[in-house]
Subunit: 384 residues, 2 copies
């Protein structure tokens, strides 16, 4: 694998890479996907922002594993840069790290035309993107996502932000990057658990709108996990799926809601375990949540049992949890989960909005879901 990366680097700026174009008028940009891209990242950045000085942000873990390779490639391209290291973990998405990051970007004396780079997972991407949006009312921003979740989800769409004591991601900005470089080799150092969690979002794109992609994943998921070229294809198809939705709906009014398939139930579960990642990481919540969305759709007579079973089988095959019972420790009662959902979704005149589905690739937004029915369903699921 290292050889391939090197060979790519010698060839120059990753000619084999997949490129997904995110179409947003004058804010359009490319997501470049390929194995070993880190080695040519400097050249790629220089071609988009010639002569830019960079402030590179990474968490301690990613800095330890990948910063050297990255800065080597920046040096090779003659790009001046400074490095800002933040602690790893969700709690880094907070006001005080935001302040510190803004201050350090300013201390690095970046000017217009310079850029801020996020080298990391969704946490570093969200925090750094928000700081980039705010410093001088908007610095150029580059994403080098290092988790599968960040490559297929958080680095596409321009949402950036931090958490507040009132909830997750409540403070932030829409700030599109100038370039996204997704090196699939970088995922080799990710824990299996984190890889799987990101994979839940990959499967989601199939389930919400692309039955062919889901079938392809059923056949090829092992190669995706192993790091063969199928991984690049899975990342590229996922980015393309999200980019299509985002281009149609940049500011999230209609279609973009489909991306929340599995997320209403998932968020409730994450909140129920107080976001303790030892018990449940986001992608695991999404996996269980997607399963619940299918089962609930089946309950409403929208979906046949076989389809639900097929989804369950695939998620189970890759090692993702599909039942609330798989979450270690005690869960709160269904009523508490319903309260979380109602708060989260803002019940409008007694009805809930959910993403439901009529089949694989056929998710849709349903605005008239009866909370009582959801409650009954959850009671049963928590009991079973």
């Amino acid at each position: 694998m290292a050889d391939t990366a090197l060979a790519d680097a010698e060839k120059g700026s990753g000619q084999d890479a997949n490129v997904v174009r995110v179409d947003l008028g004058e804010r359009s940009y490319d997501i470049k996907i390929g194995r070993g891209l880190l080695a040519t990242a400097g050249a790629d950045i220089a071609s988009v922002l010639p002569g830019a000085r960079l402030a590179v942000v990474a968490d301690e873990t990613v800095a330890r594993l990948h910063l050297r390779d990255f800065t080597k490639s920046l040096n090779a391209a003659g790009l001046e840069h400074s490095v800002i290291v933040v602690p790893p973990g969700e709690s880094t998405k907070c006001f005080s790290e935001f302040e510190r990051l803004c201050d350090e970007i300013l201390a690095a004396k970046l000017e217009r035309g310079d850029a801020v780079v996020a080298l990391g997972g969704g946490v570093v991407g969200d925090l750094t993107g928000f700081a980039a949006s705010a410093v001088r009312r908007g610095m150029a921003f580059i994403q080098v996502p290092t988790t599968l979740l960040a490559q297929v989800d958080s680095s596409v769409g321009g949402k950036t932000g931090i958490n507040s004591r009132h909830g997750k991601n409540l403070i932030g900005a829409f700030h599109q990057p100038a370039l996204v470089l997704a090196d699939t080799a970088i995922l080799d150092t990710l824990s299996l658990r984190e890889f799987r969690a990101g994979y839940a979002e990959v499967a989601k794109y199939g389930l919400l709108g692309d039955a062919d992609f889901f079938a392809w994943l059923e056949t090829n998921w092992q190669a995706v996990f192993a790091g063969s070229s199928e991984r690049e294809e899975a990342v590229a198809r996922s980015c393309q799926a999200k980019a299509d939705v985002v281009a149609a709906d940049e500011r999230e009014s209609g279609r973009r809601a489909l991306l929340n398939l599995g997320h209403t139930f998932g968020h409730a579960l994450e909140s129920a375990v107080s976001y303790e990642t030892e018990r449940l990481v986001h992608g695991e919540g999404v996996s269980i949540g997607m399963m619940l969305a299918h089962e609930f759709s089946e309950r409403l007579g929208l979906l046949d049992e076989e389809t639900t079973m097929r989804v369950r089988r695939h998620l189970t095959d890759v090692g993702l949890p599909v039942r609330t019972g798989e979450i270690p420790g005690q869960l709160p009662p269904a009523e508490t989960l319903m309260d979380i959902i109602a708060q989260d979704k803002k019940v409008s005149r007694g009805a809930l909005t959910f993403i439901l589905t009529r089949g694989i690739g056929e998710a849709f937004v349903e605005k008239g879901v009866d909370p009582a029915q959801v409650l009954d369903f959850l009671k049963e699921k928590l009991a079973g």
Copy 2:
């Protein structure tokens, strides 16, 4: 005066008000200018954002003087609202107040379709606008500017932000309001010094691009200060002037730079007195700065002596300072001022960018100013 305001209120939603439309495509909005507008503010807001719940932000001083009238008009229009009070003064534009404000807006449980209202001067407008841009990645925002400076300058253009230890206004967002309500009667409680400081920006619009307006001000400034209907006209023409520039150049690349007439020298002076407002407020710095820009233009042979004298006479008439010697206390040497200017402007290959002028209403951007010439000029001015 109070009678006029009441009469306006009884007539309904300020039919006599001047309206300046800021043309920014789907982000377009109206600036409504009139005496006594506060009494009908609720109705005006309700017509733009029907059914919105509001979080109203004011500093202690403005809250004490004007909050009751404002909330009365919100109540009359049936608009639910909560109030957030911040300390007065420039130091309120900081990270910790930003965090507190975001938290309180969230605590007020505003949803999409609800709005954040800034009732105050530029400090409250800048801080509140930035918080409005960030909470839920963008809440609707309404400005009710209560200083002359805020009515003619800071509430037009969409710039919002806070200060950093690296400099003023370095952290923020472009966030356009949905409506601006400029009640000229509210300025009656402003100190003469603050009114004058705002007037420097009014005069600036004449000097930078509208000789007729400057001539009109020479004739009518006393009525503007006294609060006759000329005040509304002065505010409206100023807003129109800024709106025209902003519409042509929303994100500040070219023409918008003309608005910085007098500001390079002015900022250097503000910085030289460490932003101690007892010694110099922003508008006073701008007044001296505009004077220096004219004198420097004269020195370069761009402007005749009579024009410079005419400008000096008008600024002196209204009571604004026109010489660095009028700033109480010791000033640093010319070299220090030059360092501040060079830092502020980022000298590109030894040349400075300045706004110079060829006559009243004929300011232009000059990119090739020789720092040595500026230094000589400043030495002389500080000595004289």
